[in-house]
């Protein structure tokens, strides 16, 4: 009971917390970068970085809603990008379908293992990450592969905006108003009660994995046409960025009804500005990784979890 009350105030805090985080990042880097954070030049960079985070987080929200954590998305993106690169060498037009299919296949298999073999999602996807880290080296033949140069021209502003708006629109509608998203939240709220309400929990979870896979595949393709190369380093920051975005957006780790798409957007923006801000300030990727790791730790410790209290009541 006591916990419930603490929770009630926590829920209100949960609503404003993401915005506080974003404001803090904007103010901090706005001042310390001497305003460089907001130049048109930098906005373009933020769009490029933010694209990955927002697309990733949009898919991640559905997994999150059901209480699933997926640690394989970065490695999956690397493999999808590598396969897309090989396909592009045959014919550039094959790159996108190859990337999407690879992403969906990998996530689908991991999802199946989780759902059918009842292995914890956390374990499954962590194992998946290790396996994929090895797989990408094999696909790339231990080197960096070059895509046909003409593909670099595909990476245009309209394409970026289309992907961005498409993901945001579809993600918002599905999570907040869609049967799919609402059902997912019910599953996160109480899987057993959801099952007894006739919901095929396994199928919903599997679908969420496949959607995540498709988006990761898309990101693999985007990365290919942006950099023109596929390497084992591709997507190495995706996992941490997306997970942090979800946590900073106030999404509860155990899923359920308080998973809000608003949180996805705010959290993603926070991470995009944070990354860009640190780049402007001259922090290299390694330092950034340390900072993000710390943020992850902090975000986890204050993450909002209704489930924790349920047992105690």
């Amino acid at each position: 009971m006591e916990k419930i009350k603490a929770n009630a105030t926590k829920v209100d805090f949960q609503k404003i917390f993401p915005f506080l985080g974003l404001a803090a990042v904007l103010i901090f880097f706005g001042i310390f970068s001497g305003g460089r954070l907001f130049t048109a030049q930098n906005m373009k960079a933020i769009l490029n970085d933010g694209l990955y985070i927002i697309v990733g987080a949009s898919g991640y929200a559905f997994l999150f809603a059901m209480g699933i954590l997926d640690f394989s998305i970065g490695a999956n993106m690397a493999v999808s990008c590598a396969v897309a690169c090989l396909a592009a060498k045959v014919n550039p037009w094959l790159a996108l379908p190859a990337a999407l299919l690879t992403g969906m296949l990998i996530s689908g298999i991991l999802g199946l293992v989780h759902v059918k073999a009842h292995v914890d999602a956390f374990i499954t996807t962590l194992a998946g990450q290790f396996i994929l880290n090895g797989l990408v080296l094999i696909v790339l033949d231990n080197s960096v592969q070059q895509a046909p140069l003409e593909m670099l021209k595909w990476f245009t502003l309209p394409l970026k905006l289309m992907i961005l708006i498409g993901c945001l629109g579809a993600g918002y509608m599905m999570l907040e108003h869609g049967v799919y998203g609402k059902t997912g939240k019910l599953i996160g709220s109480c899987p057993e009660a959801a099952r007894q309400t006739g919901i095929n929990v396994g199928r919903y979870k599997l679908t969420a994995f496949v959607i995540m896979g498709a988006l990761v595949g898309l990101l693999g393709f985007v990365s290919l046409i942006r950099t023109g190369t596929a390497s084992s380093k591709t997507g190495s920051t995706l996992m941490m960025n997306v997970l942090n975005a979800a946590l900073l957006g106030g999404l509860p780790m155990s899923g359920g009804p308080t998973t809000k798409f608003r949180g996805v957007i705010v959290g993603s923006l926070t991470m995009a500005f944070l990354t860009s801000g640190m780049t402007i300030m001259g922090y290299n990727v390694n330092t950034q990784q340390i900072v993000k790791g710390l943020i992850f730790l902090i975000a986890i410790s204050i993450s909002f979890d209704r489930k924790n209290m349920k047992v105690i009541k």
Partner: protein, 499 residues
């Protein structure tokens, strides 16, 4: 002199949750060696009041005196140390731990030597605690998840009693217990009384309260109404004080006709599953079929199997037209609904809103294409929460904030809204006050008159007899007797078949 005997005094307690005023200036006193019964409708503030005494939550205003001293416990651990223990209404145990670890949760350091937990010592101490309350058949080393609902409650009892409390608060625990479990509790209460310690006992069963309590305090809508001494006890008076108006006692069906319809809507054939052994029966259209027996006779599993929730080892369940029922989904396709005895874990998503819960079974109906709009949902909730008169702040309120009776109404509203033709109700009136109880009975009769069928599983024999067209008694997993309504059944007639 009076002061000497007074153990606990609560003065002018206030507590609000948002706009809900749960307690409005309640006062209470408890003597040494007194068993105080607390009764009131669902949501009248019984749990709130007692959990404040046990320092599980804090009051907005009001004072608590323990043995004449003003006390301000910071948390329930401190209250435990000062001798106030509470057995919660809701499940208060951890599935993932063993029985022993549940008993000593938070006190593991007692068994630590040099940072290593001595499991053996802990198990032995836990077994002693279990034996002391007469639950020696529960093994301390067993994982909690392997116990049934009733035994989990007994583990909580053992946990509370191990602390040797001066005041034991028992919040609606007996409804979760069978005869054996209840006797254990009554024994404990008697012993405590003899030792000059006190008990606050919450229940919706007026007969039970009148039998075991010395005094009865009645709450209504967060207000203290009256306290009756043993010689003033009178069931009709208690009911009137509780509800605020005259309520009749006979809220069961008054007719003695049984259902004559021969059309079968659900059929169970030779089912063996867990405790159940080779059980077959047919449910007819427009029939209320009651199942009774002892807690472990298998009737709860029967409900679960009939809903396709649990696959039987042998045998099968089919709908009237012969389609098999092997999953909740298939059951719902045949318009079957099920409310588990373990309502809060299985039939409701307590962390979700009332809206989400009531709509959850009807998404297919409410959806426009792949979307569901708020408006359609709210209309749906208004309608069905209205039919059942759910007391709530609004459709967005979380189910976990509701009192027991209102939770049950939400579960019923979900399936009424779904439009089920067959209802499998496992202990539908557990922890529910007489007002709501009679509503539920009336609802069952209405459903019956609409030619819907009901399987009623209950440990309360009068309820089974009072409502059913046909009563089946289970014993050790087998059907031991079947009775139609016309036979003028009495409880004593059936008990022979149960034990």
């Amino acid at each position: 002199m009076e002061q000497e005997k007074l153990l606990l005094k609560v003065e002018d307690m206030y507590k609000s949750f948002g706009i809900t005023k749960a307690l409005k200036g309640v006062s209470l006193s408890l003597r040494r060696g007194q068993i105080l019964g607390l009764i009131g409708e669902n949501g009248s503030g019984k749990s709130t009041l007692t959990s404040i005494v046990a320092a599980i939550q804090k009051a907005d205003a009001g004072k608590i005196y323990l043995e004449g001293e003003l006390c301000e416990f910071q948390n329930s651990v401190e209250a435990n140390e000062k001798g106030v223990c509470m057995i919660l209404q809701e499940k208060g145990t951890f599935d993932a731990l063993t029985v022993a670890k549940n008993i000593f949760v938070g006190k593991e350091s007692m068994f630590c030597k040099g940072g290593v937990l001595n499991n053996r010592a802990m198990n032995e101490a836990a077994q002693k605690a279990l034996n002391a309350v007469g639950a020696d058949y529960i093994k301390a080393a067993a994982p909690l998840a392997s116990l049934n609902f009733e035994d989990r409650k007994l583990v909580e009892v053992a946990r509370a009693m191990y602390l040797n409390p001066k005041i034991l608060i028992i919040d609606e625990t007996t409804t979760a217990l069978s005869r054996n479990g209840r006797d254990i509790l009554y024994q404990i209460m008697k012993r405590m009384k003899g030792e000059g310690r006190s008990v606050i006992f919450i229940s919706h069963d007026i007969d039970e309260l009148m039998e075991v309590c010395d005094t009865l305090t009645i709450l209504r809508d967060g207000v203290y109404i009256d306290t009756l001494e043993k010689e003033q006890f009178d069931a009709a008076l208690v009911r009137r004080l509780m509800v605020g108006r005259e309520v009749s006692e006979d809220y069961y069906r008054s007719d003695t006709q049984s259902c004559k319809n021969e059309e079968v809507v659900l059929r169970m054939e030779h089912v063996t599953a867990k405790e159940l052994k080779d059980v077959s029966f047919e449910l007819h259209r427009g029939e209320i079929l009651g199942f009774g027996g002892l807690a472990d006779c298998g009737m709860h599993i029967l409900g679960s199997v009939a809903y396709g929730n649990m696959e039987p080892d042998l045998g099968k369940v089919t709908a009237g037209d012969g389609t098999p029922i092997r999953s909740p989904k298939e059951a719902m396709n045949r318009r079957i609904a099920y409310i588990s005895k373990n309502r809060d874990q299985e039939s409701l998503m307590v962390a979700s809103s009332i809206r989400d819960n009531i709509c959850s079974a009807s998404y297919a109906k409410l959806a426009k294409g792949p979307f569901i709009w708020e408006k359609a949902q709210n209309e749906f909730v208004d309608k069905w929460a209205g039919v059942l008169e759910v007391k709530m702040q609004g459709p967005g309120q979380y189910v976990m904030e509701l009192s027991g009776g209102n939770k049950q109404k939400v579960a019923l509203a979900k399936w009424l809204g779904f439009g089920a033709d067959i209802f499998i109700l496992d202990c539908p009136t557990r922890g529910i006050d007489i007002g709501v109880k009679s509503n539920i009975y009336a609802l069952m009769q209405e459903l019956r008159s609409q030619n819907k069928s009901i399987i009623l599983i209950s440990e309360e024999l009068p309820e089974v007899i009072g409502m059913s067209d046909r009563t089946i008694i289970l014993k050790d997993g087998r059907i031991s007797g079947e009775f139609v309504r016309e036979q003028n059944l009495t409880e004593t007639m059936l008990i022979d078949y149960m034990v």
